[in-house]
Structures are given as structure tokens and as C-alpha cells.
Amino acid sequence: MTVAGIEYYTIDELMAVCMARTIKDGDTIFNGVAVPLPFTAIMLAFKTHAPNAVFWGGLLAGLNPDPPFLPPTSGDSVMLHGANPVLHLHQIFDLAMRGELDRIFFSGAQIDKFGNLNNTLIGSEDNIKIKLPGGAGSSHIGCFAGNFTIWSVRHEARISKKGDKVYTLVDSVDFITTLGHRTNMMTRDEMNLSGGGPDRVITNLGTFDFDPETKVMRLKTLHPGVSVEDIKANTGFEPVVDNRVSETPPPTREEVAIIRKLDPMETRKSGFSKEALEKKYDF
């Protein structure tokens, strides 16, 4: 891959690289709905350090696709290009129930400190303020998958119409669509779930894992120009801060070249704030 002309990288590319690095070679990976950034990350891993990954690209159930571009809707047939075999959707879910799905990527309109995700509703069941689209397969696959990577392109504090500070990373989600490491009552282990839950969180500000004791999100790396204070100001709970917090390793020029070739329509940029996308990072 030629790297001529690759002079800088942007936040979407940095996140895609961070997300790709959560994939090990040979891992079995699936993502279904609303997934431009995960598709970019998975295809990047596939073309760099994880050539033996087993990748089901979307709800089309095509295995190891090699699409000429990534589509804005993950049900598009471009994700069958180069795929072989094309199987049945249920085979992916069966594979997940067998414990053979190593990793999947989930985001959330709300993400809490234990890694619980909300994609169902804002408000409460009896008083729904915003009806979100729903969790697709994440409620159940989140129980079975080896691990999942949480990602968010809106790690920020916003001011609501009523003047309240509103977070994506909240202390407690309004509704647990996908279980993280625990509810207020019980841990994942106590429930005897077969999947390991979230092990990494990649946001537009930094990357996290989870404190082994408290299961609370723990800051590991900061993206260029982001401080621990920025993280705290944009997070609705007090994250654990690892005593070895470092800067997020930058992508290589080659990785960025691969990303731009994989995703010429730049679907990976959707959902980011305009300001975030405008920042150009030097290598």
C-alpha cells in the first residue's frame, strides 16, 4: 500500500485503528446494524494484523467480504462482494450462542460506568422521552460473545434544551439494552453468563478498559491534545484513571492509507461532531 499523500490523520481514523487493535488474528467477528466505523476497523484488521479473522459482514451473512467501498446502510449488498460462502443470518447467531463469536462492536446512546449500553429509550418505560431504534442483536449477543468493544463518537457533554448537562457516558443508563459488567444488583459472573462482556472502550477522546476489582471504566490512553480533565468534564461519572495513562499510539501512514481506500465514501465519519472531524493530526 503506497502512503504517498497521507499527510495527517483524523479522529475517525484514529478510532478505527484503536478499534482494529482489539481484534486478534483468528478471531471470529460479526457486526450487524449501524456500523460504519466497526466495518472500517474490522476490514483494517483483516488487511493488517488479523488476516485469519473470520468476519461476517452485516446481516447479509457473507463471509470475509472484500467490498470496493463501505455502504451507509449495513444491509447493502456491497457487503457480499468477494464474500464466500454466503450463508444464513441465523448461522451467525447460532455461532454466537455456541460461544464461538470472539468479538463484536457495540455503541450506545448512553454508556454507563460498568459498560452497560442503552439503545432502547431515554426516560423510563412508562414515560419515554426519546424512543431510540433498539439494540438489534446486542442484548443477547452481549451475553454470549467472547468480548465486545464499546465505541462512541460522542464522548462529550452537551447542554440540553432545558439547560441540563447531558452525557453519552453516564453514571447509570436509563435502560440496559446490553449488559456490561454488572447491574446494580449482580455481576455478569454471578448471573452465569457465558460471554466475557466489554473489555475495551474506544471513544473520540481516549481509550479505556475496566478496573478488575470495581468493574468501572478505567482510562488507559488519551488521544492527542486531550487531557484527563477533558475526559472528566465530558464524562457523567468518575472514571478510574490508570496510573500509567499514556497518549494513544498514532496510526501508521499505511493504516490510514488502507482506511481511506477501504472507505472512499467516508461512512466511518458519520455521527462525529463537525469540529471533531475538522481536526487534522500529524504523524
Binding site: G32, V33, A34, V35, L59, L60, A61, G62, P68, F69, P71, P72, T73, S74, G75, D76, S77, V78, L80, V86, H88, L89, H90, F93, A96, M97, T120, L121, E125, I128, K129, K131, L132, P133, G134, G135, A136, G137, S139, H140, I141, G142, C143, F175, I176, T177, T178, L179, R182, T183, R188, M191, N192, L193, S194, P264, M265, T267, S270, G271
Partner: protein, 314 residues
């Protein structure tokens, strides 16, 4: 399920849809923006169907339009929206928030397992243990059970047997032997699990041609077949045509402007404003626009261009 042994399945859209009873459980084919039975859905709205209950996975404009048209009372889907592309489903969201539609949010895996129970003739099915989510609060019918052999805990879910599956496919012969090209999504499961099914197709072919190419859905699972070219519009029906992103962006934009605007400018025009599918096709641009959508396979550039088009912000 349900054996439809008759070998004469051709039907008009009006007649086929008239057979769906109000209050039915309906499994809709396709997903997201792909191969959804939109022409059948528009006819269901025109016929004033009510109080229906959808069951399915990740969907978009189909479920949103069924809500807007007053057809759906309960939505038991795992996802209804337009992904990162156009965001929330405007009518579904509004009507749930206004308590006009009851959301029974579920999960793709639960839908699979519950439809499978029906296919397997069973009143329930176990699935791998799920726990800890509030989805379970919406579904008090889920039961935990210990395996009598290993003690492993599993979750039981009841069978769901849709009254109707509505599907858009590529070809059928007059018997109702249907050819569906991949991706299948959950369509084969939906048809097999449902008591009845209406299948709209791009093209009716002869029995001889169907025997040559080999059917995907056996005729005995099919109640009625309707020939409706572009019957999935504005969603895609690959390899025939890609989705009409201009139309969908207009749809979402009108939906976001509220009930009145959507009713007047979308439903009034594209659903109630036409007497049949042919008029609809003319209204959305006729052969000129529809022919464009078929050009996705001319080159990767054309394909990308079609997936980028949307109505201008004005």
C-alpha cells in the same frame, strides 16, 4: 407453516392484502433498507388495516410507514431506524412517545428462536442464557430453566407464530414456487414460521423456468403471489436495483417535520394519493428514475453515487 397445496397462487395486490385480518401478527421480510415489501405495506395502509403486531429483526422504513399509516399497534422488533445514515425512525419514534404504538423491543436472537419454535412445531424453545438486561423487563414471558442433564441454565421463550409473512422476492411461478436470491435475511424463517404468506415478486416466470433455476421457497408455504416490479421501492432489491436514497431522505425529512406534514406530504401523496402500485411508480419518477437505480452495477463509482444522493436540505 400451514400447507397451501393449491397450485394457483397468482393474485392481485388488492385481493391478496384483503385477506389479512386486522389484529394479525405480521412478520415483514427484508431488513434495514433492503428488500422490504413496501408495495404490500402501502396497500395495507390504503385498506385501513389496524391493530397489527409486527415481529422481526432490524428494520427501517417498512415498520416506520406501517406505524405512520395506523396499521401497527405493537412493534416487536429488535431495531427500527435508519442507522447512522438518517438516524431515528421519525414516525415510529413519535408514535411510541405519544403512546400510540407499544414498543415491545426485542432482540434478533429472541426473534430467531421464537420463530424457530413455531417452525419446529414446539410451544417454546430454549436459548443460551440471557440475563441482566431491561429487555427482560419488557418480556416477563422469558423463563429461566436448568438443563436436566448438565444443570446449565438456559432461557426459555414461547413460540411466536405470525399470522402472515409479507415478503418481496425476485421471481415466482404461478404455483408459488419462489426464487429468492441472497441475502435472505430472515425471510425463509419468517415464511416457514407463519400461517400464511403473501409474496410480491419482481417477475412471474413459467414453471419450466422455475424448474430450471430452482426455487428457494416451496409453493406449499405460499398463500398468494403478486407480481409487483419495483415492489420493494424505496428499499433495494439486489441484484435488480439499489435503494432510492433520495426518496428515503425525503421520507425521513418529512417524518421529522411531524404528524401533519408527514400525513399531507408523504402519506397523502405516495400512499393514499395513488390508486395502485403502477401509479406509485409513475409518481416516484417512473422508468427514468427507477432505471437509474438499476445502474448500480455499471461501475463502483455509479454505485457509490447512488448511495450518496439525497434531497437537498432546502
Amino acid at each position: 407453516m400451514g400447507i397451501h397445496s393449491s397450485r394457483e397462487k397468482l393474485c392481485s395486490l388488492t385481493e391478496a392484502v384483503s385477506r389479512i385480518e386486522n389484529g394479525s401478527i405480521v412478520a415483514v421480510g427484508g431488513n434495514l433498507s433492503a428488500r422490504e415489501p413496501m408495495a404490500i405495506i402501502r396497500e395495507m395502509i390504503r385498506q385501513g388495516k389496524r391493530d397489527m403486531h409486527s415481529i422481526g429483526g432490524a428494520h427501517g422504513v417498512d415498520i416506520d410507514l406501517l406505524c405512520a399509516g395506523g396499521v401497527l399497534k405493537k412493534v416487536q422488533n429488535s431495531y427500527v431506524g435508519f442507522e447512522a445514515d438518517f438516524g431515528l425512525a421519525p414516525n415510529y419514534r413519535r408514535m411510541v412517545q405519544e403512546k400510540k404504538v407499544i414498543p415491545l423491543d426485542t432482540d434478533c436472537v429472541a426473534v430467531l428462536v421464537q420463530l424457530r419454535a413455531s417452525v419446529f412445531g414446539l410451544p417454546f424453545m430454549p436459548m443460551k442464557l440471557v440475563s441482566g438486561t431491561d429487555i427482560l423487563k419488557l418480556h416477563p414471558e422469558y423463563v429461566t430453566m436448568s438443563c436436566p442433564y448438565t444443570g446449565e441454565k438456559v432461557t426459555l421463550v414461547p413460540a411466536v407464530r405470525p399470522d402472515w409473512a409479507i415478503i418481496h422476492a425476485h421471481k415466482s411461478d404461478p404455483r408459488g414456487n419462489v426464487k429468492l436470491y441472497p441475502p435472505y435475511f430472515a425471510d425463509l424463517l419468517a415464511v416457514e414460521a407463519s400461517k400464511n404468506s403473501i409474496i410480491s415478486v419482481e417477475e412471474i416466470v413459467s414453471e419450466e423456468e422455475m424448474n430450471e433455476i430452482g426455487a428457494t421457497i416451496p409453493y406449499y408455504e405460499v398463500t398468494a403471489v403478486v407480481e409487483l416490479p419495483y415492489g420493494a421501492h424505496p428499499t433495494s432489491c439486489y441484484p435488480d436495483y439499489t435503494y432510492d436514497r433520495v426518496h428515503l431522505s425525503e421520507y425521513v425529512s418529512l417524518g421529522n417535520r411531524g404528524e401533519e406534514v408527514f400525513k399531507n406530504e408523504y402519506l397523502g401523496k405516495f400512499v393514499y394519493g395513488v390508486k395502485d402500485h403502477e401509479e406509485y411508480l409513475e409518481l416516484v419518477g417512473g422508468e427514468k428514475r427507477l432505471g437509474e437505480l438499476k445502474k448500480w452495477n455499471e461501475s463502483d463509482e455509479t454505485w457509490q453515487r447512488l448511495l450518496k444522493e439525497e434531497v437537498s436540505a432546502g
